[in-house]
Amino acid sequence: MNGAAQPLIFHPGTPVRVDRLPCVPVAGFRETVIRDVEQGARLAALFGLETATGEIELVAILAHPERGVLAALTTRPGAAYPALTPDCPQAQGFEREVAEQWGVLPQGHPWLKPLRFHPPFGKRPSVWPRTQAEPARPGMINFFQMTGEEIHEVAVGPVHAGIIEPGHFRFQCHGEQVFHLEISLGYQHRGVERSLIGAPGKRTIHFMETLCGDTTIGHAMAYAQALEALGAGAVPSRAQALRAIALELERLANHVGDLGALAGDVGFLPTASFCGRIRGDFLNLTALLCGNRFGRGLIRPGGVAFDLDEASADELRRRLEQAGRDIRSAVDLLWGSPSVMARFEQTGTLAPEDCRALGLVGPVARACGLERDVRYEFPFGVYCFEQIPVSTWTSGDVFARAYVRWLEIQRSLDFIYAQLAALPKGPISGAVGALMPEALVVSLTEGWRGEIVHVALTDAQGRFRRYKVVDPSFHNWMGLALAMRRQPISDFPLCNKSFNLSYCGHDL
């Protein structure tokens, strides 16, 4: 234990000077990360960046929810280092990402496959040697395979049956039963993180709003908070309240849509059709705020771009109450229909210990009984003053993931009513100054899929040396793969919908 290093302790939304980050030998770095995660911390981010000398530095951000603090430390691993993943499974995606982006090899990684199939940043050599004639191509990997009598393989995607983003799913089946599912993504890779080096510029906020288009508010808010921290911007309380209303409206629209889609996947059409419509009602409420159904243009560093006048606030409340009544009548049908419950219960069950080991987040984690919610653990904006109860369920199955969404719908409605009743007066935007140079800030929000992490590191001019984005889907895709084990393959659409993860948020 004497090899462990002392990390820097700080808070989300508070910038720290990069020279205060302890840079420790690899052994101490590994020991600290592994020990802290064993003791209940979570690896919120692990990423690489290039130093002035061209060396690669790894930065680990650990979240300590019980103390409400973050811990950071760095190391310079050279071309290769002993992987964390065998001792700390939640590092698996991060280490694959570091290997792909920076060509640093995590030795002993049990699942070292590309995530997004792009060449490393800055023309570095790839850890997966490729020739010009045989470039990286999504889906072209050695999939895990089983052999034996009656074992068969099913390949799905990248183009699926519905109106949905692309990804590839490879099932190893014995008859109907799935033994293993491997998910290979990267089809949506648009080079966002690469383009953010040297930002911010006039395109940056729009990248944030389209990182994952159904989470426009969640990501734009995380970005705005990062800039406000670095630029000493004070966000007026009215803007904070409007942001939180928009964030909860985004959650409402997506949770309602998911419940409708889950009903549709088990052939229960009344709730499917009602929810499809009610989801639109919530999107239209976001459009009432800013003109766009996804909240594009609403969140800007310093505050919000649109105010809510008295008449619009009244209309928002009136339409919210109507939608609230409609959604209750639509969703109550689910829990009262044995044909629905029989399909939801004990389908795609995820064990809480797997959930914890993989560092899963959002409603997926809460459906395994974990009290994991940024709004509660690391409150930001209005949530520092107005608590929203954490909704959990313990069964870890499709039902739990659906029911947690229903609980959250009710909490979000109550929260918005309360915010509207006591909307602070005053301006909706404050000034954001020049960004602090040579600094690091971590910004967290709870999007509807779970924890959103943005980490900004600035150079001497206050430009981004690195801007790391962790969408909740980055963690949770592995959860879906595990939930499918021992399930009939025909339950895949239902399990998949109960996670409803983002492809572009993962592929960036």
Partner: protein
């Protein structure tokens, strides 16, 4: 069963009156931009400078051109225009049959010419589409999906999304077309029997949009397949998409 019927009665009939009635749009909806060139200050390029996709260009001595196919409808240009020469209207009808028709240089909105002859006979009353997302952020996808809900009830116009390209009359493409999706999109296109249509939805699929000139993308679907209908927006409002589809099929009587 009784509870289901009760809920069904409670929820009521919720399909929009459109196309018989006018669509209801949010008051802050940013539709087709309008240039009042007479109010432009000489030598001022404020709108072009703030545009995140550089979709506004100066042409000639005092002319302007705005590329609807790249516009994100973010309104940054209108806010930057001190003279109030550039505004966003409530006009939701913005689809066009050609890329060139999206280059606005005067007070006009793009028009959609309906399919003619054999194409009109084949697709006019029944159009089956296969959707391909190729780098889309799931906003365009979501607002295409919403057309299938009871609110818009796309089925009443004979338009339907199908699972297989082999059952489809055409593709509806979203996203800037990532290099990673190039092969999959091409294969999907090859699987659609002729005659076939391509409809592109959103700034990304039209021109690359915000992701234009990223090494990872192909600047839209036009690089791979011939496009029959362009529907601008980021994402387009469902009404903009529906209007484009119905005009293409000659199902709307436009004033």
């Amino acid at each position: 069963m009784l509870k289901i019927l009760q809920a069904r009665i409670r929820q009521g009939h919720r399909t929009v009156a459109y196309p018989r009635g006018e669509p209801v749009l949010p008051p802050r909806f940013q539709g087709c931009p309008h240039f009042d060139a007479g109010r432009c200050k000489a030598g001022c390029t404020a709108c072009a400078e703030v545009c995140p996709t550089d979709c506004i260009q100066r042409t000639g001595r005092d002319g302007w051109q705005l590329d609807l196919g790249r516009c994100l409808f973010c309104g940054a240009c209108a806010r930057a225009c001190a003279a109030g020469a550039l505004t966003f209207t409530q006009e939701y009808r913005m689809a066009a049959r050609t890329r060139g028709a999206l280059l606005l240089d005067r007070d006009s909105v793009p028009k959609v010419e309906a399919l003619r002859g054999a194409m009109q006979n084949i697709f006019g009353r029944s159009l089956k589409l296969r959707q391909v997302s190729a780098g889309g952020c799931n906003a365009c996808e979501a607002d295409v999906n919403v057309l299938g809900t009871i609110v818009y009830d796309l089925g009443r116009f004979g338009i339907q999304f199908v699972a297989s390209p082999r059952h489809a009359d055409g593709l509806l493409i979203t996203g800037p077309v990532t290099r990673a999706m190039e092969l999959a999109l091409k294969k999907t296109w090859d699987a659609v029997p002729e005659p076939r249509l391509v409809i592109v939805v959103g700034a990304c699929a039209i021109s690359g949009g915000l992701y234009r000139d990223q090494a990872e993308t192909l600047n839209g679907a036009g690089a791979l397949v011939p496009v029959d209908l362009f529907i601008p927006g980021c994402p387009p409002h469902p009404m903009t998409i529906l209007d484009g589809l119905l005009q293409l099929l000659g199902r709307l009587k436009r004033p």
